[in-house]
């Protein structure tokens, strides 16, 4: 370039800094190489792959049931939704009928999982912006959900809580009452979070107008989930292509208007309330019946391929599975991870903002590196 040969009297150089993979606010092992002019981000490069475990390839050498436990390890803060997505894809491939009772319990578990995942998001996001108390408050409620999951399936993080064709376990006695009790607690606590943040001047200044992405831009880059809805696109797999028992649930899909960090925050907070609403309906409406459908002893889907998506807490989580019809393992197993697709928007979002906003924006799109790298 011609311009670079001209050196003004006060020369400024760009500073390249490495944020991550060991950095407290990159939510795992994300590495962002920032090119800074002062504190303003001129350019950035997002480097991923530090948590790659080859889950897709591993799955091709496991039988269909064993894969469920591998899906736990993708978005490890929302294992139940991963399980549901995978099981339903296989069910779709095998055209299995899932009993209504199992579908209701799946819905309740998914929504509990969504609240747990959003609690983690809220806590870390607020902590990145400096509000440390919200972090512990959100984790306090997440703990209650983990206790509920522990009572249901014995595990607290990687649940392995679904089976192809239904569920491994029926709900324990009295569990539904505890879930409803939790719903009441959660509704109060969401108000508590809002009191701390929503109208806080500093919070508004730190989030309003930061990382704006238009509706068209969001669609073009393939965002899904709360980041997409924050930009005002009312797209939610639970509404558009209902799975589990969502077609029988009444709930609203909250959307934002301006597509900035604040709107994404508001969307997720409203999702807390909608999830509580769904859990109440699902738990109160659990029908009697079996928890597993008619599943052949040896799971061997017919030859063919299918794609099925669910709404995970992070966005559209899709599974593409190819079966050759002969072996007891998939021929090809491919995941469309919402975190990975949403992360693509990061360089675009942080350009022109300050270093302090970078951590706010990483938190705002809510990535889990286990899912990005698989």
């Amino acid at each position: 370039m011609e311009a670079s040969t001209y050196r003004p009297a006060f020369d400024t150089e760009e500073l390249v800094i490495n944020m991550g993979p060991q950095h407290p606010s990159t939510h795992g092992v994300l590495r962002v190489v920032l090119k800074l002019d002062g504190e303003r981000v001129v350019d950035s490069d997002v480097i991923i792959g530090y948590l790659h475990r080859g889950i897709e390839k591993l799955s091709e050498n496991r039988n269909w049931t064993q894969i469920i436990l591998l899906t736990d390890r993708m978005d490890y803060v929302a294992a139940a939704t991963n399980n549901v997505g995978y099981c339903e894809t296989v069910e779709k491939l095998m055209q299995l009928e899932v009993p209504r009772r199992a579908r209701y319990i799946r819905t309740a578990l998914c929504e509990l999982q969504r609240i747990a995942s959003h609690c983690l998001w809220l806590g870390t996001h607020a902590m990145d912006i400096g509000a440390m108390t919200v972090f512990l408050y959100a984790f306090r409620e997440r703990e209650l959900i983990l206790d509920l999951f522990e009572e249901y399936c014995g595990a607290r993080l990687t649940y392995n809580s679904m089976r192809i064709g239904g569920l491994p376990l029926d709900i324990p006695v009295g569990w539904d009452g505890k879930v409803l009790e939790f719903c009441n607690i959660m509704m109060q606590k969401v108000d508590e979070y809002e009191e701390l943040l929503t109208n806080n001047r500093i919070w508004l200044e730190r989030t309003k107008g930061i990382g704006v992405i238009s509706a068209e831009g969001a669609v073009a880059i393939g965002l899904s989930g709360p980041p997409l809805r924050g930009s005002g696109v009312p797209k939610d797999v639970r509404k558009d292509e209902p799975y589990a028992a969502y077609s029988e649930m009444k709930f609203e899909v909250p959307i934002g208007t301006s597509g900035d960090t604040y709107d994404r925050y508001l969307v997720r907070l409203e999702e807390f309330r909608q999830s509580v609403k769904i859990i109440r309906q699902a738990i109160e409406g659990i029908p009697e019946g079996p928890i597993v459908g008619k599943v052949p002893r040896l799971i061997k889907p017919p030859a063919g391929e299918t794609y099925h998506a669910i709404e995970s807490p992070k966005g559209e989580l899709g599974y593409f599975i190819v079966s050759d019809g002969k072996s007891t393992n998939p021929y090809r197993f491919r995941v469309r991870p919402p975190s990975f697709c949403n992360l693509q928007a990061l360089p675009q979002l942080i350009r022109g903002h300050m270093v302090a906003d970078v951590v706010a924006l990483i938190g705002s799109i809510d990535v889990v590196l286990g899912e990005v790298d698989r």
């Binding site: 500073l15 950095h23 504190e39 912006i129 509000a131 730190r206 300050m354 302090a356 906003d357 951590v359």
Partner: protein, 340 residues
């Protein structure tokens, strides 16, 4: 001989030790208070309710390996923590903890010294401390600390001006720069200056938060963004000095605010006959009580508020605090000339 050398020496030793112990326990208090806010317990292991935790922390920090990065500027790197710590401690020289009291048949003032430019001395000494932060970040020869020290210098410029302008209006009200004189002025006027200069009080408190690098203005050490900020490369006792200096500065700001706005060692509504029974409480207890309230608010703010971004902090400093402070000076001047 005793009056000129021994008593001041004893007082200096006492204040120095009390401050250092106070600072270490300030750290414990912060951990405890924030833990209570966040429905946790805080340190509980060392001693009952964790009251020996500061000692354990100190032992750990002293025994830790003291690393100087290979490419750091060694002299500046070593000097920076000292530059931070010393001003924080010597400010206590002019802070009056109480009036002149009778002790063992002698008249002993409960302050180390009373100089006629006390407030000016505090302002000037306190601003030296920031150089330590700037130099420490620069000498580390590392990128994150460098960004932090840039932030610290921006913060310094934005806030020193506002705080100093605020103090000007207070000096106009008190008519003196001596710390003891300011307290006496509040005694004569029978009112704490917080009621006379409420705007100045608010400005001073915000400025104080920024000066001490405390939340919500702690961007020079924002651990979430800059991984610890200016002290990223420091370890062991040198790190501890930065840490202690921050808490010492909090105590300084709190005691200065107490002296200037809350009547220092005076009881509420001093010199009012109806409330004279409050005078039975020793003066230094009033002082400590008020300082403690300030310190508690510091911790409370940290537990509650998110952090400002540093351009927003500068905007707040230049566009809100400095104009308000100047307006306050003008109004004080007009009122003083016309009405008094």
């Amino acid at each position: 001989m005793i009056d000129t050398y021994l008593i001041p020496l004893l007082k200096i030793l006492f204040v120095l030790n009390a401050t250092l112990v106070g600072v270490t326990y300030m750290v414990l208090l912060e951990r405890k208070v924030i833990a209570w806010v966040q429905v946790r317990l805080g340190p509980m292991r060392v001693g009952p309710y964790g009251i020996l935790q500061p000692i354990a922390d100190a032992v750990k920090l002293i025994l830790k390996e003291d690393i100087t990065p290979a490419r750091a500027d060694k002299w500046v790197f070593t000097a920076a923590p000292i530059i931070v710590m010393v001003p924080a401690l010597i400010t206590f020289a002019v802070i009056p903890f109480g009036p002149v009291v009778h002790l063992f048949g002698r008249e002993v003032p409960l302050y180390i010294t009373d100089i006629n430019v006390g407030l000016l001395y505090i302002v000037s000494v306190a601003s030296i401390g920031v150089y330590g932060i700037i130099l420490g970040g620069w000498a580390s020869n590392s990128k994150f600390p460098l960004l932090a020290s840039l932030r610290a210098s921006a913060q310094l410029i934005s806030y020193e001006v506002a705080v100093t302008m605020t103090l000007v209006s207070l000096i106009m009200t008190a008519g003196t720069l001596s710390m003891v004189g300011i307290v006496n002025a509040q005694y004569t006027s029978r009112l704490w200056f917080i009621f006379v200069q409420p705007v100045a009080f608010v400005l001073f408190f915000i400025g104080g938060l920024a000066e001490t690098n405390r939340a919500p203005f702690d961007m020079a050490e924002a651990e979430q963004e800059l991984t610890g900020g200016f002290h990223t490369e420091y370890s062991g006792m040198r790190f501890a000095l930065f840490f202690l200096a921050e808490y010492a500065n909090m105590i300084v700001v709190s005691s200065v605010a107490t002296t200037l706005f809350l009547g220092g060692w005076l009881a509420p509504f001093p010199n009012v006959a109806a409330l004279s029974f409050l005078g039975y409480v020793p003066s230094w207890i009033w002082f400590l009580l008020k300082t403690f309230v300030f310190l508690y608010v510091f911790l409370w703010v940290r537990a509650t508020l998110p952090r400002y971004r540093y351009d927003q902090l500068m905007r707040l400093g230049w566009k809100v605090l400095i104009p308000t402070a100047i307006a306050n000076v003008v109004v004080t001047g007009i009122v003083k000339v016309l009405l008094l």
